[in-house]
């Protein structure tokens, strides 16, 4: 009796789920909707790998109960591009080897796309500030910053 129906737009398509109280958006995306691009890292808002967009705002999906996004628009990495038609950011990450194990990449691309929407020509420092909450443990941040600069150039 405690489960609640929640409807929202996922990557432009309406979806509805049944969720127990305080189920995170992250677990609904991964476990109910099959959107496994959004990763579950620290589950406490500290690593950034679960970053998605809610009404265009970068949001840590591990901290948001799915009830809160009722009637809102959620965009995950799957909605930003596809293997066949990658976004400029996804292509730049791929070609610049800004992915290694790939675990942080969905969150990196999500925060970077929010940045480039607001600032099409960010400095390395502005990119660094935007990425401050996204942790990468293998490639190092340098190739990621370079890929974002590359994508910004492709998009201009």
């Amino acid at each position: 009796m405690t489960a609640r129906a929640v409807g929202f737009a996922l990557n432009g398509e309406p979806v509805a789920v049944l969720a127990e109280p305080l189920t995170t958006l992250q677990s609904v995306l991964r476990e109910q909707l099959g959107m496994t691009g959004t990763k579950a890292g620290c589950r406490q808002g500290g690593c950034g790998t679960c970053t998605v967009h809610v009404d265009g705002e970068p949001t840590l999906s591990c901290l948001v109960p799915v009830e809160n996004v009722e009637d809102r628009a959620v965009t995950t990495i799957e909605g930003l591009g596809s293997p066949e038609e990658p976004s400029a950011l996804q292509a730049a990450f791929h070609e610049g080897f800004a992915t290694q194990c790939g675990f942080c990449s969905p969150g990196m691309v999500a925060i970077a796309s929010a940045l480039l929407e607001r600032n099409p020509d960010p400095s390395a420092e502005e990119i660094g500030e935007a990425l401050a909450g996204n942790v990468c443990r293998c490639t190092g941040i340098a190739p990621i910053v370079a890929a974002i600069e590359d994508a910004a150039e492709r998009m201009r």
Binding site: T2, P21, L22, P58, T59, L63, P65, E67, A132
Partner: protein
Amino acid sequence: MVSEYALAETPEEAGRLVAADPDAIVMAGGTTVMPRAMLGELSGRRVIGLARAGLDTVSQNGATTIGATTPLHTVAGLDGAPLLAAAAQSIGSWALRTTATAGGNLLVGSPYGDLVPPLLALDAEITVAGADGTRRLTLADALAADSLLEPGELLTEIVVPAAEGATDFQRCARRAAGAPSIVTVAARIRRDGEAIAEARLAIGAVGPRAMRIAEAEDALVGSAGGEEAIAAAVAAASSAVEPADDSIASAWYRARMVDLHVRRALQTAAGAA
């Protein structure tokens, strides 16, 4: 699992829900409640959610009125409120600031709460709704009480008077972003001619609560804000705080960082005033 998540749809409904169930956990952005829920620490508890209650409006009309659930990201972008904006921008990461709220930051306690010293330096007030209506009190008075809110009360807004004088915010942490504060300092200095007419110094993250340092403020008022007066204010701050030893920093290190960041904040504010 929590027993219920009751999402208020209006400010009035939020007030009614909280007044009717003082034992419930009140959740604004959820950045500290959700990790606890994930760990199973809130099993069987009832949670009242404010995320859709419409308590997130900001109005600027001389004073700045900030709804309790205004995201820190919005506070960080406020025009004409540089002290508050700097403090909000220093908290967490961008994707955290879109979710974490101003009111939550005020209530969450140490080692969070980096908005509190700036709000103290700006003589901010808070509006609290309870079963018998609303009350307005200064944040300084609220912090001096045993508990910021009485059971069943809801923080609805933060009111920040137009700042007079120059301000500065200093924050010391192990990393520039995403690390808990070792010390935060907010300073405000207003001159009348050459002499300092009004001074505010507030320090956070050093002990359990942020505090204004009246002795340091007194050491500055009437002076020209030179090295000697600032040294006296630093000494007053140094003896007023009781630095804590914890996993973030040792008391020894905190004490030294208090001195350094109080000096920097006062020099910057006095230089610009």
